[in-house]
Structures are given as C-alpha cells and as structure tokens.
Amino acid sequence: MVKFMVLPAKYNKEVKLSSSVIDKCKGKKIAIYTAVQFLEQIEDVVIQLQQNNVKVVSSQPARTESEFQILGCDCNWDNLKLEGEVDAFLYVGDGMFHPTALVLAQREQDSFKEVIVYDPTSGNDKVLGLKDMDKVLKKYKGSYVKFLSSDVIGVLVSTKPGQKQYEVSKKLSSKYPDKKFYYFISNDINFSEFENFNFIQCWVNTACPRIGFEDSSEIKRSIVNLSDVLRE
C-alpha cells in the first residue's frame, strides 16, 4: 500500500489587502475564499475587512479540507455550501483557476455577484464577471443541446483516484435508455484522441469538471459534464 502525504507549500509572508480591494468591498457583505497556501493568513484578512465595515462570511465547499478554501472543481453552486445572500465574492490567492470556479458556480444563479480577486504575491487585483466566461459558457450550452440530440455518446473516465467516477457514470444508461454509451478510460484526457473515435457524437466528462468548461472551449467536439446530464 502506497502511503500518500500532502504538504501545502504555505505562503510565508504577511497578507494584507490593498486599499484598492478594501474600497471594492466597503459596505458590502462578502463571501471570502482562498487557496491552501494562504489559509494561515486568511483570519488576518477577515479582521482587516471587518475593521473596514465589511461583513464577511465563508463556507467549507464540498471537496475541501478547511473553511475558506476553494478548489477548482467546486464550481457548481451546491458544492459551495454557502448559506444566505452576499453582495460579492473575494478570492485571496495567486492564479485564476480557483476564482474562476466562483464565477462558474454562479452560472445558473438568478443574479450574478462579482468576484474580486486579490493576489498577495503581486499586490494586484481584478474583478471577474460572467462575461469573462462568456465564450466558455456559450460553448457549454451548445454541448448540452448536442448531448440531448445525440444517440452515440462517449464517456470519459479518468484513472486518477480522486477523479474516477465510473460507478456513478453507469447511471447514464438508465436515465437515457435511448442513447448508447461507450466508456473510455485514460489518466489525462487527451482531446486529440477524439479523432480516432469519430463514431462518437458527443462526449460526457466524468473527470475534473473544468475539462468540460475551459479545457474543451477551444475544440469543436461537444463535451458536457456528468453532473449536468445526471441532474434531476
């Protein structure tokens, strides 16, 4: 049995929001999230916000180990487990993969709340809106329509232990008895392989949901995430 150990690579500097970010949050109710590297500093950030008349809430999303932490895969609204309404989101951390999950999670919400992103490593901030995901979400909606009208479906199953959803994906045939499902398994999903299996009309992704969103937005073939086609 192979033992597994994770080390978070904690950020070892102070994290303090810039005045630009404070101005964007002032007077609002903010849901705050971060990546594991910055978890130790997030309480200080919460205090800084509260001292500036900001109401701060958070949650522990479905796949995370800690409150305040967001993962790229927690990109469906229910996964966030956030209770109550907020005026905006604030993500503290580097990179755009995690804050984009907060944009995607709101894709079917009645009203969209902006996602303020503060990178403590550079001091820069920006604001993400639904328009930043416009291209991805248009492609995704098209893929969903294609799934409904397709008879021959390829199901993408990953061998990665945290992403393998073969058992769940077998529900597809009972939910869609008129479609034929063919199961494909690999570690990383390589879109160029699709050309070898051109009898597939539409693909269902059961691995990381971000494969169904950003990764597939540049290719012509249709891919839809398992969660969206299994939803009641």
């Binding site: 192979v2 033992k3 597994f4 978070p8 690579a9 070892n12 500097k13 993962l71 990381c208």
Partner: protein
C-alpha cells in the same frame, strides 16, 4: 522562495516509517524546486527519490507508482464526491 516546502516534515516521515522509495510530486509552479528537495532528502536519508514528470492537478491526482510514499506539494487533502 515565498513558500515553505517543509522538507523537514518529509524527512521525519521517511525516517519514522523507514520508507525506501519516495515519489515527489509538485504542482507546476513548484516543479523547479525538485532539485533542492531531492538533494535534501538524499543528504539526510537513504531513501531512493523519484520525481513525478506529469500532471499534479490536486490531491485528486495521485500517480499510481511502485513506491512506499507519494508526497505531493501545493495542495490539501481532497474529499471525493462520489455523487459528483
């Protein structure tokens, strides 16, 4: 380096459990640190160290290899959602 790699924790684990083979897996931004980590582990233990040359998307993405210990940097434990 603004991130603490905590190699001492890995070395303590190797010594405590007497691991003979260790695979180190780094998130992309941390991959350049592989040399420093391997050198430290080799210096202080007798373990054989391999570097994973592949993806490291998160704790969902653990390589299947013949090693006593897989250690991944840059992530936290992952709670798999069986229902998706």
């Amino acid at each position: 380096m603004n991130y603490d790699l905590e190699v001492d924790k890995l070395i303590a684990e190797i010594k405590k459990e007497k691991h003979k083979t260790v695979l180190i897996q780094l998130a992309d931004g941390l991959k350049p640190m592989a040399k420093e980590i391997v050198d430290q582990v080799r210096d202080q233990t007798n373990a054989e160290v391999l570097i994973w040359m592949g993806s490291c998307f998160g704790a969902c993405d653990i390589p299947s290899v013949d090693a006593d210990l897989v250690v991944q940097w840059g992530h936290n434990l992952f709670k798999k959602e069986e229902k998706w």
